[in-house]
Amino acid sequence: MNRFAYVRADSTAAAFRDAADPAARFIAGGTNLLDLMKYDVERPSRLVDISRLPGLDGIEPTASGGLRIGALVTNSRAAVAAEVTEHYPMLASALLAGASPQLRNAATTGGNLLQRTRCMYFYDPATPCNKRQPGSGCGALDGVNRNHAILGASEHCIATHPSDMCVALAALEAVVHVTGPNGDRTIAFADFHRLPGDEPQRDTTLAHSEIITAVELPPQGYAGHSTYLKLRDRHSYAFALVSVAAALALDAGGISTARVALGGVAHKPWRDPQAEALLVGQAPTEAAFRRCADALLHGAQGHGGNDFKIALAHDAIVRALTQAAAGTPQSQTDKRIA
């Protein structure tokens, strides 16, 4: 770990100023950033602590009937807030599927969005990695790539985004609120995370000194027909090999809206509106779900160690949609894959 300065910001204006240096970093819960610093992946000149910024830790209804979750709300709080468990149970479930209780107590909503890939090469400065050190090559491409991407990857990077929460947020079509030296703006969730292309060092479309202030959920939470299914190497405390956030709106004519987002398979939560559209107007049958899965996984490509993910993702999509159609699973904490 390098030596760094530490300042605590008491206003966003102060935070922008303190973080003007491109080597400065905001720190919220620190659960990701400190790990990266210990591995010398991040070597910030200065940590600007934003964890006490006022006004960013509320969970409030919006005028349009949605919900606004402040960037500093911890993953633990969001997971049990009545507004979330009642109206957005899929999000609560995704939050509880992530990390461990201790980590969730510290991890924040904003930090969760910006957590970095768990690619082992990214974490190990003794190895090549284009994301950590552009131009050094991708260690994972022909290496240990069991937890790497099957969709949307490039020859420069095949990393995945590791978040569970973000998969649910993608399916819910959340909006990210940010503020920066040049004012406030909103970013649609689908536009927040990037695909690696030839700039894998850039995970998101956020600018350097911008701060996430909140995540806004639209009114439709699919409370009755949604699920978050996470497949991993142990029953708790492991990142997803594949996860699925699935949400359906059903009416007399069958499925009226479908949302399916995948985690663990790409550089960002993976959605394909065309695949979802295939379900609209259909009865919720396994055959329909399979067609959707086929379309979602169109073009999926393995790299050796992760070849198994393609078929796994297919089965997981079908299962998640089946669960969602049957009604949101009652227990959000039950680790059983029902």
Binding site: M1, N2, R3, Y39, D40, R118, M120, Y121, Y123, D124, A126, T127, G139, D142, G143, V144, R146, L231, D233, R234, H235, S236, Y237, A238, F239, L241, F308, A311, L312, D315, A316, R319, K335, R336, I337, A338
Partner: protein, 753 residues
């Protein structure tokens, strides 16, 4: 061991055999127990090792310029500027070293494995040292390396020099090939187990305290202080009394602390050179550079009659080792120790690869070989359509066919019977895929486990003072197993004292000699030594009592008296008794002290073989479509001689079973063969089981007392818990799904197939 000192049969144990809470439990949960990295010294310096990042090559240059400039950095050691150290391999041997050339830290410019320490940064603070270490640039010329066992199996060789204490495979008996070829039923497969790292909670650490005048006190994370002591004095040419090694508490080690690890060398080297105290602690990442359970490929061929009786048994294994040491463990012999067969071919080979030398990890060798044979036996059961437990029972060896000796005790059948009953095995449908609930298939599987019951020479001292307090000590370790508690129980019973009157001391090189705590031999050996020393104190006390004027004990020997409730009591007339303090006061002695050595009885070793046994039963639920395995029940029935403390013993077995679950389902140290480097070197990516993965574990102890082995009748149980567990789980997955998995860990993609 004189017979007169053995436990009188009619004197029941008060504490031995009873569930007792750990005597050090309070210290541990309140933070009062201090570990190697927690000892302080004035002006303590901090050392951080710099690892090599290539698997093989030569260091051209180590650039320390930027690192030295970090404020607080005192010195940076490399092979180029280190103080003189001996060159001879012999100086670096330790009590547990396998044959070969032990790794000599900072010795020369050679890089032998990725992660090898090539420099040590010493600074006034830990953060200065850590930061400076990250600035050291190692310029090395890489040479071609090989780390892939599968690809290099053609180069497997029989280790020419055998590792001390490790039984090599026996000569072939009968005609295994011919018998296999004509057997009506044949099972032949490969069973592959990936490498694992120990990952104890406490990282390896050494605090070397400069006492002035060339004298050192060293707090080391080690499973035996004598090993560290001999290693340091040997390498650095110090007199025995110049070095005092202490290791009062060890936060888990599982074998990783048997050999002195490189942080000890580095801390002592720097302390002697700088004449200032130095502490070196390994990072979690560096914990992946100090030895591991070696990836092993087993091949098994079983030939059997149509009724499942074994006619041919062939088991060979190929395991990885380093280029510089021939690490060996017992992998294949277990097959024949479990099963009777006339035609047996066992064979064990190594492949030299460019990684660090493997090291003993809980039940070294056994769970690898037992996974193979116990999976193969399950396959045989299905080939001949016999209940897997019945098939095993039919083939169990009742004598040690390898050494041609009877077993001192062998309660394997009883363990199977009791385990099966507790589990409800008789209700098991034979056919795979016959139990289902919702989307989950349910399977029941079992396997047996085996581990050698060993004893090693241990010396212990006992000292009873006039205030009725007893102190016992031996230089063994408590690596979390409960040694302090066990020794306290044994000592209390030997002199009829309450446990509160006893203090057990260990982990100190000035205590009477003991080897490393390992091999499950500590209770049998250290326990016996303490017992013998205490009985000698008892004998002396009785002598004093006899000589008192008008003594009721005149002409008595230890056989005629009992020590209970702090008194010597005449058996023939229990109203005749004296307290121990009365005896000492009357005799005018302030204390009674004795030292005794416990050793295995060579005659008994020649006559008998001794093993611990287990039968493990597992229930799994498998979501076949997704490949998700949920373990729902485990019964582990263990026969391990007398159980000194059922409470800590149960914890040992539970820990062993959890280790086995990790081996079965989760643990794998992943190598990138191009880089020759273990990649998942942290606890987020190296998966040990989490609480959510562990079901109810039901531990049974089968009644067994093996008095041939030692007066306590103890066999030991640190390792047996892991041995059969992975095989039982694999067999349960087969029963659930009909899919046979022969590669550990059985991760989701392997279960999906």
């Amino acid at each position: 061991m004189s017979a007169a000192l053995e436990v009188p049969a009619d004197r029941p144990f008060r504490h031995v055999g009873q569930p007792r809470s750990r005597v050090d439990g309070r210290l541990k949960v309140t933070g009062g127990a201090r570990y190697a990295a927690e000892f302080d010294a004035p002006n303590l310096l901090h050392g951080v090792a710099v690892p090599a990042s290539i698997a093989r090559g030569r260091i051209r240059r180590i650039d320390t310029e930027a690192a030295v400039a970090v404020p607080g950095v005192v010195h940076i050691y490399t092979h180029g500027n280190r103080p003189p150290i001996p060159a001879s391999d012999q100086d670096y041997q330790d009590a547990v070293a396998p044959p070969g050339k032990p790794f000599r830290p900072l010795f020369n410019d050679q890089i032998l494995f990725s992660g090898q320490p090539v420099a040590l940064v010493v600074a006034e603070t830990l953060d200065a040292a850590t930061y400076a270490a990250s600035l050291v640039r190692v310029d090395a010329e890489a040479e071609p390396h090989e780390t892939n066992l599968e690809r290099n199996r053609f180069a497997a060789y029989v280790p020419p020099e055998k590792r001390s204490g490790i039984a090599p495979p026996p000569e072939t008996r009968g005609f295994p090939d011919a018998a296999f070829n004509v057997a009506p039923v044949q099972i032949r497969n490969e069973y592959h187990v990936e490498s694992e790292h120990h990952n104890p909670m406490e990282p390896h650490a050494s605090t070397a305290i400069w006492e002035g005048d060339g004298r050192l006190t060293v707090y080391d994370k080690i499973q035996g202080v004598m090993n560290s002591h001999a290693y340091i004095t040997g390498i650095f040419g110090l007199d025995a009394d110049q070095v005092h090694v202490l290791s009062p508490f060890v936060g888990g080690a599982f074998g990783s602390g048997l050999r002195p690890q490189y942080q000890l060398f580095l801390a002592v080297m720097a302390t002697l050179d700088l004449k200032r105290s130095v502490r070196v602690v390994l990072s979690r990442e560096q914990m992946f550079t100090i030895g591991y359970r070696p990836e092993t490929i087993n091949s098994i061929a079983l030939g059997a009659n149509a009724d499942g009786t074994l006619r041919a048994l062939k088991h060979s294994a190929i395991a990885r080792t380093s280029t510089f040491e021939d690490y060996q463990e017992v992998v294949v012999n277990w097959s024949n120790l479990l099963y009777r067969c006339e035609n047996v071919g066992l064979d064990y080979k190594l492949v030299k690869l460019d990684t660090d030398t493997p090291c003993d990890m809980r039940a070294p060798g056994a769970p690898l070989g037992v996974f193979a044979i116990e999976t193969a036996m399950d396959e045989l059961a299905y080939a001949v359509k016999r209940d897997p437990l019945e098939l095993r029972t039919q083939n169990f060896a009742d004598t040690d066919e390898i050494e041609g000796k009877p077993f001192s005790t062998r309660s394997l059948r009883e363990a199977c019977r009791q385990g099966a009953e507790k589990f409800g095995w008789s209700g098991r449908p034979f056919e795979p895929r016959s139990m289902r609930e919702g989307k989950e298939l349910i399977g029941w599987g079992m396997a047996t486990g085996i581990w050698e019951a060993m004893m090693t020479p241990h010396t212990a001292r006992a000292c009873l003072t006039a205030d009725g307090k007893l102190e016992v000590g031996t230089a063994t370790a408590d690596i979390g197993t409960g040694t302090y508690t066990m020794l306290t129980q044994v000592a209390a019973d030997a002199l009829g004292l309450p446990m509160e009157a006893v203090t057990a001391r260990l982990g100190d090189s000035r205590l009477p000699k003991a080897p490393v705590e390992g091999g499950s031999w500590t209770t049998a050996s250290a326990g016996t030594a303490v017992h013998l020393a205490c009985r000698k104190v008892a004998d002396t006390l009785l002598g004093h009592a006899r000589r008192m004027p008008g003594s009721p004990f005149a002409n008595t020997s230890l056989d005629h008296v009992t020590f209970a409730d702090g008194r010597i009591v005449l058996r023939a007339d229990p109203s005749k008794a004296m307290t121990l303090t009365e005896v000492m006061q009357a005799a005018g002695v302030p204390q009674v002290e004795a030292e005794e050595t416990a050793e295995p009885d060579p005659a008994m070793k020649q006559q008998f073989s001794s093993y611990t046994h287990s039968a493990v039963f597992a229930e799994v639920r498998v979501d076949e479509q997704l490949g998700v395995v949920r373990l729902t029940r485990i019964v582990s029935a263990v026969a391990a001689g007398r159980i000194v403390n059922p409470k800590t013993a149960r914890s040992q077995i539970i820990g062993g079973v959890v280790f086995g679950v990790g081996m079965a389902l989760h643990e794998e140290s992943m190598l990138d063969h191009r880089l020759g480097r273990f990649m998942n070197h942290n606890l987020a990516e190296y998966h040990v089981p989490s609480a959510a993965d562990i079901p109810d574990i039901d531990v049974l102890f089968v009644d067994e007392v093996d008095e041939r082995l030692n007066p306590l009748g103890v066999k030991g149980l640190g390792e047996i818990g892991i041995v059969g567990t992975a095989a039982a789980i694999g067999n349960a997955i087969f029963h659930a799904t009909g899919k046979r998995l022969r590669h550990l860990p059985m991760t989701l993609e392997r279960v999906r197939g």
